[in-house]
């Protein structure tokens, strides 16, 4: 009898195992949340597209409603310039870029593309008119192209070789026409 009563007391005081699903779900949710934050931070810490990497695919719709896909330009040397009408340093290189375009355009194997970053169309058109820019230019709709290139600001210029590989990045404005030529010319001989 004594033994029986001791056993029953022991059973009553023993903590019953509780379902731990709540805790597991909470920890998983926290883990998922931390992973999302970490991925976001990693992405924000990434610099521009690396030299030697393939450039991201994009289609530019120009102010003249022409569609230009970067994949269609394989076999050509492509200079991509990010600019904006509100960007004062962009004005420093605008005339030199147009002069470089005039120098190379008749060859047929060099293409210049201007991508207008976070700008308003009337001011952008006025800027193109002011600097008499004739190479294709278009707005970065939805900032998709600038996000794909992970640009940090404007002006930034990317030079792509005939295989679609990034060969040169210029952060900030070019200082002269000679500097622009000095980065394009080595790619022409390849």
């Amino acid at each position: 009898m004594m033994i029986h009563s001791t056993e029953s007391v022991t059973e009553e005081t023993q903590p019953r195992p509780r379902p731990r699903w709540g805790r597991i779900i909470a920890w998983l949710a926290l883990l998922g949340f931390l992973i999302i934050i970490a991925l976001g931070l990693l992405r924000s810490q990434e610099g521009p597209v690396n030299i030697g990497a393939q450039v991201p695919n994009f289609t530019l719709t120009t102010f003249e409603q022409e569609q230009i896909n970067i994949l269609d330009l394989k076999g050509k040397i492509v200079l991509i310039n990010f600019w904006a009408s509100w960007c004062k340093p962009c004005e420093q290189e605008a005339a030199d870029l147009e002069a470089a375009w005039q120098f190379y355009k008749n060859r047929g194997d060099v293409v210049f593309l201007g991508i207008d970053y976070v700008d308003t169309e009337p001011e952008a058109r006025a800027y193109l008119k002011k600097f008499a820019i004739t190479y294709p230019n278009g707005p970065d709709l939805g900032t998709r192209i600038s996000q794909a290139f992970r640009i940090r600001g404007v002006p930034e210029t990317y030079l792509i070789d005939r295989e679609g590989t990034l060969q040169f990045v210029q952060i900030g404005p070019f200082r002269s026409l000679a500097q622009i030529k000095s980065v394009i010319d080595p790619l022409l001989g390849e």
């Binding site: 904006a84 709709l141 900032t143 600001g153």
Partner: protein, 163 residues
């Protein structure tokens, strides 16, 4: 009509001319201060601008951002309002042009749902933890009853009592 009466008529004429000029100046001044129906006010522009963020100046609402890019955006809002666009049409235009990131309130789709779900969940979890803690502080967990002494313990206690 005598020369005297003609002079009398001339004086009110001068006053009338002066009065008309003064009235013209006042009316034009008032018109300059009152916006015409087709010219949106700053408040109307800012009501839309504060719902937008320019990607160039992160974390600064468009209505208070001082950069040239933001000034151009506000001018564009003013222009669109003058053309008769609604608030929704203008905001949709900016989203089409610059992406969802310009919105002060992210649209509830994709990963953006987390913004709407996580804070209430955290508040609920916090409230639950607080409720549990308060309950514990109020009624501490009951200690388990000590096991009844066995024979050996009984004998030891008996011996101790005898001493």
């Amino acid at each position: 009509m005598s020369r005297h009466s003609a002079r009398l008529l001339k004086i009110p004429g001068r006053f009338l001319l002066l009065f008309l000029l003064l009235a013209l100046v006042l009316v034009s001044h008032a018109a300059a201060q009152t916006p015409s129906p087709s010219q949106p006010t700053d408040d109307q522009v800012n009501a839309i601008a504060k719902r937008l963020y320019c990607p160039v100046c992160e974390n600064i609402p468009l209505d208070v951002c001082g950069t040239q890019a933001c000034a151009q955006w506000r001018d564009l809002i003013r222009q669109r309002l003058a053309e008769g666009w609604s608030d929704r049409q203008i905001i949709n235009y900016f989203v089409d042009q610059y992406g969802d990131r310009v919105l002060a309130t992210p649209p509830a789709r994709g990963l953006n749902w987390l913004v709407y779900i996580i804070p209430p969940l955290l508040i609920l979890a916090g409230a639950f933890i607080l409720w549990r803690a308060l309950r514990f502080w109020k009624e501490p967990l009951s200690q388990p009853e000590p096991n009844p002494p066995d024979d050996y313990t009984k004998r030891v206690e008996e011996e101790l009592r005898k001493r």
